[in-house]
């Protein structure tokens, strides 16, 4: 068959005999590109269904996401820092590269509860030497990383990652001095409310 038949100016240009309130209809052939789009999408649907549902060649969405997340977890582990080294954190707190990066993250994320001034709002003040969950750098890291769900501190590890949290810890430490007296007070009051209570 000729793949490029001449344009069918013949049959299609005849009007159908019927007229509806004066509206008449030609009966032109359907454009080939339109037909091939229709047929192509039907064939694609069949192949797609076969690949995923019948043959099961492609991994399921669940398997795919689980594998990707496992890969991310592995990458994080292989490049992890020693977050138990207090001296390293103090060193970082004196380096402007780390504290500047930490300030950016802090002001974007942490300031919501702890305020840009670190004086505390919904969350406690980070300026005082009294700490609810421990004031050693490694303890501060743990609090940010794992959160304290019971007290409303979110676990930021999965979102921020180790590097950014370390920078934030360095930034907070830059408001403190290495070797300052640190006290543990689980009942330390929160900061002032951000706005007067009531509605």
């Amino acid at each position: 068959m000729d793949p490029h038949p001449p344009p069918p100016a013949d049959a299609g240009d005849t009007l159908r005999p019927h007229s509806y309130d004066g509206i008449q209809e030609y009966d032109k052939r359907l454009p080939n590109w339109w037909l091939y789009t229709l047929y192509g999408s039907i064939v694609f649907a069949a192949i797609y269904w076969f690949t995923y549902e019948i043959a099961g060649i492609m991994p399921s969405d669940t398997a795919r996401v689980d594998a990707a997340m496992a890969k991310i977890a592995a990458a994080k582990m292989s490049s992890s820092l020693d977050v138990t080294n207090d001296a390293k954190f103090w060193e970082m707190s004196r380096n402007a590269v780390f504290t500047d990066a930490g300030r950016q993250t802090f002001n974007s994320i942490c300031a919501a509860c702890h305020q840009v001034s670190l004086a505390g709002g919904v969350g406690p003040s980070l300026l005082s030497t009294e700490w609810i969950h421990g004031g050693a750098p490694k303890e501060i890291f743990k609090t940010v990383n794992e959160g304290v769900p019971a007290k409303g501190m979110a676990a930021w590890g999965p979102v921020l990652g180790q590097k950014k949290i370390s920078e934030v810890v360095a930034y907070v430490l830059s408001y403190h001095k290495e070797g300052e007296p640190v006290t543990l007070n689980p009942n330390k009051p929160r900061g002032v409310p951000a706005a007067p209570p009531g509605g």
Binding site: L30, S60, V65, I72, A75, A112, A154, P193
Partner: protein, 769 residues
């Protein structure tokens, strides 16, 4: 022509009424649209007033545009064209009047109840149950009036416009009734009978096909009448009408699950949703082709006739929207675009470009004929066209850029793909603010064009007298062999091949092993046999179809079967499986009474209109919000609250992430916690008392529809709720926030803190609680 000559006068009064109502409600709907677009960018525009907040006005905008503007416009177009196409006056003046005033009463009721926060909590299905019953009733009035008119027609053969009207009437009735099945807890509140994934599936079967059968098929019918009339040209291709009509109504119904791609929805449904959306591309473009190519030979009038301008642009926008739709239904494209402004842009190309411009073209064509006076000003109509077109293009491109920008930012990762580049959701919101502002400009321009049209129509109509069309017709009896019975409708080559081929395809789709192969070969065999039969006896197919067009009842039955089958196959399996088998590995605990009260507040304030509760099976979603959502986690949710867009972050796992004080401050003044947030404050939640009294009725209804609440007495429900409220108020006090336990904010905090708490299950049995 045989028979006696009679002169009929058409009922054009109801057409005029519907047209003017469409113009009025169109302006209202668009005005609310511009306001809520402003609210998204400027939180101050919520005015700190409950009934003016985005969450309550957004349903008003969507319902007004869909049901009030397009609804009234559609009734005007259908009634005007049907009377002329079937050569009969509308069957009953009483039903026509009842239809008009009933529909307007429904719109007024919606405009009052939605800002009051009375809602069912499902998009485009927000109206409360007494209004649902009224809508169904008025729709039946419309159907009876329409089919009764068909029964009295003097033109025996049904024109393609009428096919689309028939499909509209029966399909909307089916969708509306099923998606609104609910059990009342009071005169203004009810719970839908479907929950969780079932509710999601039914909702988008309805929601998507509201677009299909309320915003598309009736307008295609209107196009098939008004466009050739205005152009004075024959329709391009009758056989294209046949093919694209039947493929459109059959395929459309299946595409609903494309609103739930990459979610917890079972994969087979996602695949059907995606592939049927792709198959819809050609049938949709069939309508566009038949519209645009009908203008061949009339293109010169594009310069002079505003009606042709609006129709040509409207049909072109239809083509754009129906190309974009299948594109967005591809799972990987959807992963980027879903929940973003791209979807909002897509739907507005359809609503502003297709519905709005087809409506304008029709109004400009109708007004001079219904009032017998030429249009006041062609120049003003042209002005409307250009302002409107610029408005649509600004709106559309702003939303494309906004959606793609936000999607890319939300998905961006850094440090070897291990962490998110923008962990703070607000960074992505503030990045698109200029585009959100541009959207207000685009929408505002479109509204300005609409106002120009109102002025133009008013100057046309005000000094004129209404006139009713008349027509001379001949009473004609059916000739022998023209009537078709049940056997004639069912036993003929096209229907038999379609049914057999479809059954075989289903065998292939849903079975395994040898049966699967049988289905595949059966399908191929059916297709080959059908092609062979058509090649040799194609004339018979045409004769049969010509005869079918003389018989409206068999035609309607076949349309109904075509639209019903997709829903049956997708929804019935999900309804018949025990819900507890659909939990995957987690199941939600039933809500405590206070959490349920808080959940109803979440629904009342329309939180689902900006926040999803569905973490998709996508790496960026999991990194941002936590482990992907399981079906079991929303299993007891009536209504489901998976959401469809994210102006704010997902909330599926927000429970226990922050403390009570965080939510307390955030709900009163979001910016005290989240700098740069565009969320409105909800001060009234701190002043109003929680409605404990209704809880026992609500829990009784929830038990009726299958949620396994324990056997609490009303007194126990009250005690449980108050005790939990006191507990939360006590925690808040310790955190320095003082509030009476009975205030609504306490219930809302209880609900928010419950989100994402679920129990792992070993086996589906004994899953409850």
């Amino acid at each position: 022509m045989t028979g006696q000559k009679i002169t009929i006068e058409f009922n054009d009064k109801v057409v005029r009424q519907f047209m003017l109502a469409a113009v009025l409600w169109g302006a209202v709907g668009m005005l609310v649209g511009v306001l809520i677009a402003t609210q998204l960018n400027f939180w101050q525009a919520n005015f700190g007033t409950a009934w003016l907040t985005f969450g309550r006005l957004r349903p008003l905008h969507t319902n007004a545009v869909i049901f009030a503007f397009v609804g009234n416009m559609m009734f005007a177009g259908i009634y005007y064209s049907t009377q002329r196409l079937v050569k009969a006056r509308l069957a009953s003046d009483f039903l026509s009047t009842l239809h008009f005033w009933g529909w307007q009463a429904i719109i007024v009721a919606a405009a009052v109840t939605l800002p009051l926060g009375l809602t069912r909590g499902k998009e485009y299905a927000e109206l409360i149950w007494p209004i649902n019953i009224a809508v169904a009733g008025i729709w039946v009035v419309f159907a009876v009036n329409f089919f009764w008119t068909l029964a009295r027609r003097h033109e025996k053969s049904l024109y393609v416009a009428i096919w689309f009207y028939i499909a509209t009437i029966i399909t909307v009735a089916m969708l509306y009734i099923v998606n609104h099945l609910s059990i009342p807890t009071s005169w203004t509140h009810s719970y839908g009978v479907f929950g969780g994934v079932q509710d999601a599936l039914v909702q988008w079967w309805y929601g998507h096909n509201a677009v299909a059968f309320f915003l598309t098929t009736p307008i295609l019918g209107i196009m098939y009448y008004f466009l050739p009339k205005a152009a004075g040209r024959p329709v391009y291709s009758y056989r294209l009408s046949v093919i694209h009509f039947w493929s459109l109504v059959f395929l459309y119904i299946w595409a609903g699950p494309h609103h739930l791609l990459n979610t917890a929805l079972p994969n087979w449904l996602q695949l059907l949703g995606m592939t049927f959306s792709l198959m819809l591309w050609a049938p949709s473009w069939g309508g566009m082709l038949n519209g645009l190519l009908t203008l061949r030979g009339a293109w010169g009038r594009l310069r002079t006739d505003p009606v042709i301008k609006f129709f040509a642009a409207g049909v072109t926008f239809y083509g754009m929207a129906t190309f974009e739709g299948p594109l967005l239904s591809i799972k990987s494209v959807n992963a980027l675009a879903h929940y973003t402004d791209w979807i909002i842009g897509h739907v507005h190309i359809g609503a502003l470009g297709w519905n709005g411009f087809m409506a304008a073209g029709m109004f400009y064509w109708l007004a001079p004929r219904l009032w017998d006076r030429p249009l006041h000003s062609t120049a003003l109509a042209n002005l409307h066209f250009w302002i409107g077109t610029v408005g649509i293009l600004l709106y559309g491109s702003a939303m494309w850029a906004s959606g793609i920008t936000q999607g890319l930012m939300l998905n961006a990762t850094t440090e070897g793909g291990t962490i998110l580049t923008y962990p703070n959701f607000l960074d992505t919101v503030n990045a698109i603010r200029p585009l959100m502002a541009l959207r207000i400009v685009g929408g505002g321009l479109y509204l300005a064009g609409f106002v120009v049209m109102i002025y133009n129509l008013w100057r046309t109509i005000a000094p004129a007298q209404p006139v009713n069309g008349t027509m001379e017709v001949y009473a004609e009896a059916y000739a022998a062999g023209e009537e078709m019975g049940a056997a004639g409708s069912a036993f003929n080559a096209p229907v038999l091949f379609s049914v057999l081929g479809f059954l075989m395809a289903c065998v292939w789709l849903f079975t395994g092993g040898w049966l699967n192969l049988l289905g595949l070969f059966g399908t191929i065999l059916c297709v080959l046999l059908a092609i062979g039969h058509y090649q040799t006896r194609g004339g018979k197919w045409g004769e049969w179809y010509d005869k079918l067009l003389l018989n409206s009842l068999p035609f309607t039955v076949l349309v109904f079967l075509s639209v019903a089958v997709g829903g049956l196959i997708q929804i019935i399996p999900m309804l018949t499986i025990d819900r507890r088998l659909q939990t995957e590995d987690r199941v939600a605990a039933v809500y405590t009474p206070l959490e349920l009260a808080g959940r109803d507040l979440y629904v009342r304030e329309g939180c689902y209109l900006c926040h999803s509760q569905m973490i998709r099976m996508l790496v960026p979603d999991v990194m941002r919000y936590g482990d992907y959502s399981r079906l079991g986690e929303s299993i007891w949710d009536h209504p489901y609250q998976w959401g469809s867009k994210r102006n704010g972050p997902d909330l599926a796992r927000v429970g226990a992430k922050y403390n009570h004080a965080w939510h307390f401050d955030h709900m009163r003044d979001p910016r005290s916690i989240s700098t740069g947030s565009n969320m409105p404050g909800y001060p009234w939640l701190f002043a109003r008392d929680t409605d404990y009294a209704s809880l026992s009725a609500k829990i009784r209804v929830q038990k009726t529809i299958g949620v396994p609440f324990p056997n609490w007495s009303p007194a126990m429900i009250d005690t449980l709720a108050r005790d939990q409220a006191k507990e939360i108020a006590k925690d808040l006090r310790e955190q320095g926030r003082y509030i009476a336990p009975d205030k609504e904010i306490v219930a809302l905090i209880a609900y928010l803190q419950s989100l994402g708490k679920s129990n792992p299950v070993a086996a589906p049995a004994g899953a409850a609680n």
